[in-house]
């Protein structure tokens, strides 16, 4: 599975929004209506899945699926 697909699956599982309706440019707050607690939970799941630590100050910059995928790609071991 491509990294983007994996990210979308995690988001889909957590939000119960169908994976088909989540795209690279989907915005967590504007499109998926996630609040700050949702975001923390989501980032924890990403960290767990990809074995990457996402620093707290970084999470605020990760607004879309693409942002997360790019961050993970450039930080994955």
């Amino acid at each position: 599975m491509e990294m983007q697909e994996k990210v979308i699956k995690i988001v889909s599982d957590a939000t119960k929004v169908e994976a088909g309706n989540i795209k690279g440019e989907t915005n967590f707050v504007d499109d998926l209506n996630l609040d700050s607690l949702d975001m923390v939970e989501m980032m924890m799941k990403m960290e767990e899945e990809f074995g990457v630590e996402i620093p707290e100050d970084k999470t605020e910059e990760l607004k879309t699926i693409n942002d997360v995928t790019n961050f993970l790609k450039s930080n994955a071991n």
Partner: protein, 413 residues
């Protein structure tokens, strides 16, 4: 002071997932206590409970993504509140959100999430603790979610007084209406702690029945062979309203809350005062507040947990309050069928009192095969009894020596 009407009720427990299921099973004398499946015998010395089965909360009440974020007592509280509100018809009315509140009771709150998250913390470290952990278990989150679901902006809090929690919550809610601060209140309580740690704790206090092989016979209040209480889970919710306003909107009034008492034993952390020094004035307060003579009381839903000491102490206290009239009162413990719902017990049993007043039927104390000679009242043994009653009284007592009594009156238009 304003009169207080009950306009909606709901309950769930091992004996059923809604009011009608629970009530028909209780009236039929059917036990809701069963063997817990799939538990490790080494970790679970006691494996029987009044467990809610086949329950899934509706997505109308808790969205799919939220369901795993809230502990079970919150699901129960929402589920029963919804049923009770629908019965009351309150949601079809235009209401001022600030005039409706919610006060519920829970003894332990979200213990299951506390237990599992503690393991996460120790095994996987603080970074793996969910940001939803705190809202998932805090005791007042059932009332919080109720306010959000129905836009009730009045008083909103949770009472925790062990096994008297829901009863105290009811008294607090009734007070809001009596004083005219609110027009309607969601009251009662919910509890769901059938996980390993509470069983281990209560068992090591020697509080639980050890009848693992005979679950339906394990809870036997007032019987010679009783050996402790049986854990239960569930909820009991009531909608209270300003009686005149409920009448004006054409609501069906089920019963009235006319009095309540609340005292402390000031005696021992877990044992009841053997002579009822706390419970006697507690029941008396409820009668005095209502201005009702003791001779008018027809039915008591007893605290009656099936512990050797507690059942005798409560019997003594009832005899002391009611004197000769005690023999005319029907006293039953529905915990014989539901197990002990801990902080929700007073909610469930208040619902039972209201149904008894409405239907003129009293739920029995089952498993009363050899009555303890020190328990010498009429306990409605084993079979329901038809009796048209005017006043029903509920006792709920908790660890810490806390006592609560609520008095309900049949409503006559």
């Amino acid at each position: 002071m304003n009169r207080v009407a009950v306009t909606g009720i709901s309950a769930m427990c091992g004996a059923g997932n809604n009011l009608e299921e629970v009530w028909s099973n209780l009236i039929a004398g059917k036990s809701g206590i069963s063997t817990l499946e799939n538990v490790d015998e080494n970790m679970w010395p006691i494996r029987i409970a009044g467990q809610v089965k086949n329950f899934e909360i509706s997505e109308d009440l808790l969205e799919a993504k939220e369901q795993s974020r809230y502990d079970r007592f919150i699901h129960f509280g929402l589920h029963c509140t919804d049923e009770a509100l629908k019965q009351s018809g309150l949601l079809e009315e235009k209401f001022d959100p600030l005039r409706i509140g919610a006060i519920l009771g829970t003894g332990l709150g979200g213990f299951p999430f506390m237990e599992s998250t503690t393991q996460t913390y120790w095994n996987r470290g603080p970074r793996r603790v969910s940001p939803f952990f705190i809202p998932s278990f805090i005791p007042n989150m059932a009332t919080g979610k109720i306010s959000m679901k129905y836009n009730f902006k009045g008083v909103n809090y949770t009472v925790s007084s062990a096994c008297a929690s829901a009863a105290h919550a009811l008294g607090a809610g009734a007070t809001e209406i009596m004083l005219g601060r609110h027009d309607a209140m969601v009251v009662g309580g919910s509890e769901a702690v059938l996980t390993g740690l509470p069983f281990a704790g209560f068992n090591n206090m020697k509080a639980l029945s050890k009848r693992n092989d005979d679950p339906t016979k394990a809870s036997r209040p007032f019987d010679k062979d009783r050996d402790g209480f049986v854990m239960g889970e569930g909820a009991g919710i009531l909608i209270l309203e300003n009686l005149e306003k409920a009448k004006a909107r054409g609501a069906k009034i089920l019963a009235e809350v006319v009095g309540f008492g609340a005292t402390a034993d000031a005696y021992h952390i877990t044992a009841p005062h053997p002579e009822g020094e706390g419970t006697i004035p507690c029941m008396q307060q409820a009668l005095d507040m209502a201005g009702v003579k003791k001779e008018e009381i027809d039915y008591i839903n007893a605290h009656g947990t099936s512990t050797p000491v507690g059942d005798v102490a409560e019997t003594k206290a009832i005899k002391s309050v009611f004197g000769d009239h005690a023999k005319n009162i029907d006293v039953s413990s529905t915990k014989s069928m539901t197990g002990h719902l801990l902080g929700a017990a007073g909610g469930l049993e208040s619902v039972v009192c209201v149904k008894s007043l409405v239907d003129g039927v009293l739920a029995p104390t089952i498993n009363l095969e050899n009555q303890d000679e020190n328990c010498d009242l009429n306990y409605v043994p084993n079979e329901a009894k038809k009796r048209d009653i005017q006043f029903a009284l509920n006792n709920s007592f908790g660890f810490g020596g806390t006592n609560s009594t609520t008095l309900f009156k049949k409503y006559e238009a």
